[in-house]
């Protein structure tokens, strides 16, 4: 069975799917924010908390764009939607974005409690979910051929 022809993404530029082009940015930002949270926790040096706030904001903005592109693919092609990893991939990443949204608000507090304890916990949980949803996303591509043109 070759489902490849039927799993064309709806959100694409010149037949290149947009969603996988965007997702590395929020992943990098959210992992980075967890690391800078740890650095702030260990040093109480505001520079690290400021890094976290920028990383979370950038990750959230691009993450929402990636989410929109992914949702367009998800809703635009019933065959993509019906692949087993599709739903948990979508829901898991929705959780990631909601966590990042609250985490951005927490990080807008002033000084210590912008990170410790709530901020760094949310950053950690986000980083725990990312490998799972990432794995599911790459399953959609490598195993099920979502977005693969030939």
């Amino acid at each position: 069975m070759t489902p490849v022809d039927h799993l064309e993404p709806t959100a694409r530029i010149a037949r290149h799917p947009i969603h996988p082009m965007l997702v590395p940015i929020p992943i990098t930002c959210f992992v980075g924010a967890f690391l800078t949270d740890i650095a702030y926790w260990l040093t109480a040096e505001m520079m690290w908390a400021d890094f976290s706030a920028w990383l979370l904001s950038a990750g959230l903005i691009v993450g929402v764009l990636a989410g929109i592109a992914g949702l367009v693919d998800f809703l635009g092609n019933r065959r993509i939607r019906s692949q087993p990893p599709a739903w948990p991939h979508m829901l898991g990443n929705l959780v990631v974005l909601v966590l990042a949204f609250f985490n951005t608000l927490i990080h807008s507090r002033d000084a210590w409690t912008s990170v410790v304890p709530t901020g760094i916990i949310l950053s950690f949980v986000t980083v725990l979910i990312l490998p799972v949803t990432g794995w599911l996303g790459w399953s959609l591509v490598y195993r099920h051929g979502a977005g693969v043109s030939r």
Binding site: M46, P84, L91, V98, F101, F102, S108, R109, D110
Partner: protein
């Protein structure tokens, strides 16, 4: 093996989960808490609620509409009010010279530093709603008002000193006129009657200024014998979020030697001290202080207090004595143990920026001997608080009784700002003067029918 979680089964879960997440978001964001009665936290023993930390700090900024033709603030019975001067550019503080001339310090905040984090960008945007609508002029100058015919209304107005650096405090000792710019105390040779300062100023001492210059108003007062100057230097952040190293010599009142400009820290832990004045009966130095934000609509009460030599009033480590602020790290239990509570709470977020003790006798008897306080008004509390001038009665050198509203109506019925009171002064006739930096007006309060 295929994953056993079929699409159909998960799709049942999905709407529920999504709904749950969205509902959670809505509840948390709308769960804003309203402030209680400000009277409960006014006086010597304010009620301090438990500290709350927000997801989204309330930003309740009064939009500026300005004064329409003929509109004035409202005064308490027995008083009347008129505009002494209009079309000013952010008048922030006032000083009455011995010959009756009034100096109006028009001042703008120094340029903002580069944003350190996303919040700085959002806050600057929201706060820009609250700045004055009309005035885009140069400001940062001192205007002199002179009443040549003695009717109380100035008939001459001149630019006395121009091109200052965010000035605020003024003090005259003999013929030395001191202006506290945001980054230095500058001395000018004063000659009574001159409409314009001809001489250049000389720097007495530099003060903590930029590049970060969060609380930039430097309040100034001279000691009775004229040998010392006291200057208020506000903190460089709400609660150390710009790093503790940015707070060097800040949140302090400095005592400056007038001979040589050498200074020492007179008192510390005062987040943003303004309105420095000597209480006439005790001779003690008093200040009004803006306390910290974002831990609740009723925390922390702004206050007025006598300032004791060498005392520590808590900021940033604690508030109102020994209430520890968890946002500061590393904590300093050694300093918290030394922190003393202030004398008199004015309730939270009222932003007192001006204070004057009334020793005149032109206003009704009930306003004699106590202090008027100019409350610029809240931006992070629902409902709004401040935006008025209050009177705190004193007896035997201490506050005695509840703060009373004296001048109100800076907000209209839709909670839009027509003006905001800042610095206060008493003119030569004993009238109370109010600088209104949003209405760009100086108001004059006198006894009704007088």
């Amino acid at each position: 093996m295929r994953p056993r979680m079929t699409a159909a089964r998960v799709s049942h879960l999905a709407p529920c989960l999504t709904a749950l997440l969205l509902a959670g978001t809505a509840i948390t964001l709308s769960g804003c808490n309203e402030g209680g009665d400000p009277k409960a936290e006014t006086g010597a023993n304010p009620t301090l609620p438990a500290l709350v930390q927000y997801l989204l700090p309330p930003m309740n900024v009064a939009h500026v509409v300005g004064w329409k033709q003929g509109e004035t603030p409202t005064v308490a019975p027995g008083l009347k009010i008129e505009a002494l001067a209009t079309d000013l550019q952010h008048p922030r503080s006032l000083y009455t010279l011995p010959n009756g001339d009034v100096l109006v310090v028009e001042s703008k905040a120094p340029p903002a530093p580069a944003p350190r984090r996303p919040k700085d960008i959002v806050m600057a945007w929201v706060e820009s709603w609250a700045t004055s609508g009309g005035s885009t002029g140069p400001s940062n100058r001192i205007t002199l008002l002179r009443d040549t015919n003695g009717d109380g209304v100035p008939d001459a107005k001149s630019i006395y000193i121009d091109h200052l650096n965010s000035p605020f405090g003024v003090a005259l000792v003999g013929n030395d006129l001191y202006v506290a710019n945001t980054d230095a105390i500058v001395r000018y040779p004063y000659r009574p009657g001159e409409p314009e300062m001809k001489a250049q100023g000389t720097t007495l001492t530099e003060l903590p200024g930029g590049p970060i210059d969060h609380h930039w108003t430097k309040s100034l007062v001279a000691s009775k014998d004229g040998s010392l100057l006291y200057v208020g230097v506000g903190s460089n952040s709400n609660i150390t979020e710009n790093g503790i190293e940015a707070e060097k010599n800040r949140a302090d009142i400095l005592e400056v030697n007038r001979d040589n400009g050498r200074w020492r820290i007179f008192a510390s832990g005062l987040r943003n001290p303004n309105g420095l004045s000597f209480e006439p009966q005790s001779g003690a130095l008093w200040t009004v202080v803006n306390e910290r934000d974002e831990i609740g609509p009723d925390l922390v009460p702004d206050y007025m207090t006598s300032v004791k030599d060498g005392a520590f009033y808590g900021w940033p480590y604690s508030y109102y004595g020994q209430h520890v602020d968890p946002r500061v790290m590393p904590q300093r239990p050694d300093l918290v143990a030394k922190a003393i509570p202030p004398d008199y709470a004015l309730s939270s977020h009222v932003a007192p920026l001006g204070m004057v003790f009334y020793t005149g006798n032109a206003l009704p008897q009930s306003y004699r001997g106590g202090a008027f306080v100019g409350e610029h008004g809240s931006w992070n509390r629902t409902p709004l608080n401040g935006y008025k001038v209050v009177y705190v009665p004193f007896s035997e050198g201490k506050p005695d009784g509840m703060a009373q509203d004296v001048v109100t109506g800076f907000l209209n019925s839709d909670n839009q700002a027509r003006g905001r009171p800042v610095g206060l002064a008493v003119d030569k006739t004993g009238a109370l003067l109010i600088a209104d930096d949003v209405g760009n007006t100086v108001w004059r309060v006198t006894a009704a029918g007088g």
